[in-house]
């Protein structure tokens, strides 16, 4: 079946939904999502959304937010885009309040704000209360409010439609082909503009805080039509994931005074960051934990560390960290009031993605040349405001704010965008893919290959990396890609065939994991979330550049020719300095 709408949006998280609200008021927009919109992973965010509203930290201003973001990015963030983001943050958050988002409130009745790692006043002088929040479910209330605005504006939703391919010809996005998960069957959607808000790629790793749906489909889709992906090697590992599942234990557990203990019951952070101890930045703590584990000082010699909050006492725990108790009981079977919680670093946020400008138009080369009719925002994009490492609460902001920018840009561009003509072979790629997986019969299992991929990515392309590990991981991915040709998908049905969809998703994971590994291998330096044991220093001379990666046949080709924007739009920019806390 063929569907024609002015604008086709893929993804209904904060980025996709926010764009839809904007466009839905003036044009005919369709939103496709593989999960019901309000189930998008944006809903999992707890901590907050950054904006220098200065409701509590009265002297806060966008320049401070800009500095923190640039420094946090280890200077790989594009400062023009960062300036736009931090300047527009207050109006973007306040607009959500106007639309009914239930934010927690200050005593004066304003939007409540709290501290979050890396956000400061006066360029690092003291902590800023910049994270706007709603109790422990900030992402949840933002997502639901946006979804409800979409309902109000009669946005057309195609829920549980999984997009399999992007139709892209002569530098122009034409549409997408999707599988109707519930009833089966391929549907083609085409329009004057296509926007991707397809979320992150945490599922390439075995230990992750990300949802099952976060399989980075958008990245595979763009690379299959010859477009590059950017900075894929930058993945943020959060220190406090529950052992084995990777489910996130909030940063607040450290913030409120939790101790990190090794198997000697010792607060090992005194060896790594004697002043900040447990409050050091996420990547530093994650590395310290991983080093303890690697050197055999994990609990029982296993790959876990303890976070101990028992000394805080039941009253403080209940008041300050109410959800931790429930989380630890439900997902680790541990009562944190009585015993320490086993944790390990967890793949949390994908800094890399589809290269795009601050106006969210997708670009395809070092010179940032734009594609036509194609836009991307949110975690699937790389605009790049987070550079090598994103600050907590900046990603909800990014998704919401660039979703909004995308919506406005598309509305502005629509008069100049004609309806494209569908090429004759518009459905072929998707149809071949589905037919292949329904008919292929071999001995391999999707579950097994995925498990091997995720576990080896964690081990050899995780918190610590080295040439030896990455070379071995590259070979491992090639082996898995070969074996993937010989899988069998048990389920042959048309309707609600999640077995088939998981096979398709695994194809994506295998593909872009190659880009993560190649990027990590070529980037012989350590910066933000990317740490090379054999190159522990940052190397601005060679690598103050964005990585672009193109899929060529079974390989990835890389360039390091895309410069970082070191100046803001109006601000002169912050010179790269050592990232010290």
């Amino acid at each position: 079946m063929i569907h024609r709408h002015d604008v086709i949006i893929v993804g209904a998280g904060l980025a996709g939904s926010r764009a839809a609200v904007e466009i839905g008021q003036v044009a005919d927009v369709a939103v496709l999502s593989k999960v019901y919109p309000s189930r998008s992973h944006s809903g999992a965010a707890q901590g907050g959304i950054a904006a220098s509203l200065a409701n509590i930290s009265k002297t806060d201003r966008w320049e401070y937010h800009m500095f923190d973001t640039v420094k946090g990015s280890d200077y790989l963030g594009d400062q023009d885009a960062i300036e736009m983001m931090v300047r527009e943050a207050p109006e973007t958050v306040i607009e959500m309040e106007h639309w009914g988002c239930p934010f927690s409130r200050t005593a004066e009745g304003k939007i409540a704000q709290r501290k979050f790692g890396g956000h400061t006043l006066e360029f690092g002088k003291e902590a800023s209360l910049r994270a706007c929040y709603s109790a422990d479910y900030t992402g949840h209330v933002l997502l639901h409010t946006l979804h409800e605005q979409c309902l109000k504006h009669n946005v057309n939703f195609y829920s549980e439609f999984q997009v399999l391919s992007l139709i892209f010809r002569d530098n122009r996005a034409i549409g997408v082909v999707a599988l109707d998960m519930v009833h089966g069957g391929l549907h083609t959607f085409y329009g004057r503009a296509v926007m991707f808000g397809m979320g992150g790629y945490g599922r390439a790793f075995s230990i992750t805080s990300n949802a099952h749906a976060n399989t980075g489909d958008g990245l595979a889709l763009v690379s299959r039509v010859g477009l590059p992906v950017q900075d894929m090697e930058f993945v943020q590992f959060h220190p406090t994931g529950l052992w084995k599942s990777g489910i996130l234990v909030t940063e607040g557990a450290r913030g409120e005074g939790g101790y990190l203990l090794n198997n000697e019951k010792r607060r090992f952070m005194e060896d790594y960051a004697p002043t900040l101890m447990e409050l050091a930045p996420r990547d530093m703590v994650a590395r310290a934990m991983q080093q303890e584990i690697d050197e055999g000082r994990g609990i029982n010699g296993e790959d876990k560390i303890f976070i101990d909050v028992t000394h805080l006492g039941e009253a403080k725990l209940m008041e300050r960290l109410p959800q931790i108790t429930e989380l630890a009981m439900n997902f680790a079977g541990v009562d944190p009031r009585k015993e320490p919680i086993p944790i390990q670093p967890t793949a949390h946020y994908s800094m890399g993605g589809i290269p795009a400008n601050a106006n969210t138009r997708v670009t395809f080369d070092e010179k940032r040349t734009e594609t036509v009719g194609f836009y991307a925002a949110g975690e699937c994009s790389c605009i790049s405001v987070h550079g090598a490492n994103r600050l907590g609460t900046n990603s909800l902001l990014e998704a919401l704010l660039f979703g909004r920018r995308s919506g406005k840009q598309i509305v502005e561009d629509l008069p100049n965008l004609e309806f494209p003509t569908l090429p004759a072979d518009y459905e072929d790629a998707a149809r071949e893919e589905v037919d292949h997986f329904k008919n292929v019969s071999g001995k391999e299992k999707v579950g097994t290959i995925r498990k091997e991929l995720q576990e080896t990515m964690m081990l050899d392309c995780g918190v610590f990396r080295s040439e030896k590990q990455l070379v071995s991981q590259k070979a491992k991915i090639q082996e898995l890609e070969d074996r993937f040709k010989h899988i069998t998908v048990d389920d042959k049905s048309d309707q609600f065939n999640t077995d088939l969809l998981e096979a398709i998703e695994l194809g994506h994971l295998l593909e872009f994991s190659g880009a993560i590994v190649e990027g990590a291998l070529a980037r012989q330096e350590s910066r933000g979330g990317h740490y090379r044991k054999d190159f522990p220093k940052r190397d601005d001379e060679k690598f103050l550049k964005h990585t672009l990666a193109w899929r060529k046949g079974a390989n990835w080709e890389l360039t390091f020719d895309k410069p970082v924007m070191l100046q803001g739009v109006t601000h002169k920019g912050f010179e790269p300095m050592e990232r010290k806390y």
Binding site: S38, H98, W99, D490, F496
Partner: protein
């Protein structure tokens, strides 16, 4: 690793004339939830077992199902808290698409009938609207609802009347009606004040017992009923 037996409701409309149960023995790690066991079955034993899941930490609302006769989130329920064979059924009261996946369209349609968005036509102030912490608290924990449908699916009034809004939609109506920024009760009253609306709640409290987020729709529906009566006086 202890071995546990899972009895799973199976129905595929393309191949089955009627539903049946299929039994799987699974070696479960101590920390596993029911969703972990379902994944183990799907990934390594039988890929055709069908269910919804995404966040796997109780926030997206995808994985509500009936486990040992009680609606719950599969991803939040620790296996070690369950005794004997674990029976897994789809949420009752909805059409079954396949196995544990049901047709949620009526649930979402009910939600839309209560106009679940802020209604207030006053011009926006330049900053945020002021709402005191006490006013914020009036919404209670209704803002934490994850739309998993465990409540509506457990409600006898919903089983007997498909047109009934059900506890989740009514909770959403409560959330906006008790938001001091909202002026939309007049717009919502027709949807609420009829025989498929508020008054079909007979305070059976199944919804309260079913809610995996420990919300209390029954209580909030009562408050909404009182509010409507006041409004009409």
């Amino acid at each position: 690793m202890p071995k546990r037996t899972f009895k799973i409701f199976r129905f595929n409309p393309e191949t089955d004339s009627k539903p049946s149960y299929k039994t799987y023995d699974v070696e479960c790690e101590g920390w596993w939830t029911v969703l972990d066991a379902l994944n183990e079955i799907k990934w390594f034993v039988d890929g055709t077992v069908t269910y919804r899941r995404s966040c796997r930490h109780g926030i997206c609302g995808s994985c509500a199902m009936m486990i040992n006769g009680k609606n719950d989130l599969a991803c939040e329920l620790q296996i070690k808290t369950l005794k004997g064979t674990i029976t897994v059924d789809p949420l009752p009261g909805f059409e079954i698409y396949r196995d544990l996946a049901v047709n949620m369209d009526p649930f979402y349609a009910a939600l839309k009938r209560v106009k679940p968005w802020l209604i207030n036509n006053d011009p926006y102030p330049s900053k945020e609207r002021i709402q005191s912490p006490e006013e914020f608290k009036l919404m209670g924990d209704s803002i934490a609802c994850i739309l998993c449908a465990a409540c509506t699916s457990s409600c006898p009034s919903f089983w007997s009347d498909e047109q009934y809004l059900g506890p989740a939609a009514l909770l959403k109506a409560y959330r906006y009606t008790f938001d001091t920024r909202d002026k939309g009760l007049g717009d919502r009253i027709d949807a609420l004040d009829n025989k498929h609306g508020l008054w079909r709640c007979h305070k059976i409290t199944n919804c309260y017992h079913a809610c995996p987020k420990h919300l209390n729709p029954t209580e909030q529906i009562s408050k909404l009923q009182r509010r409507i009566i006041e409004e009409k006086m």
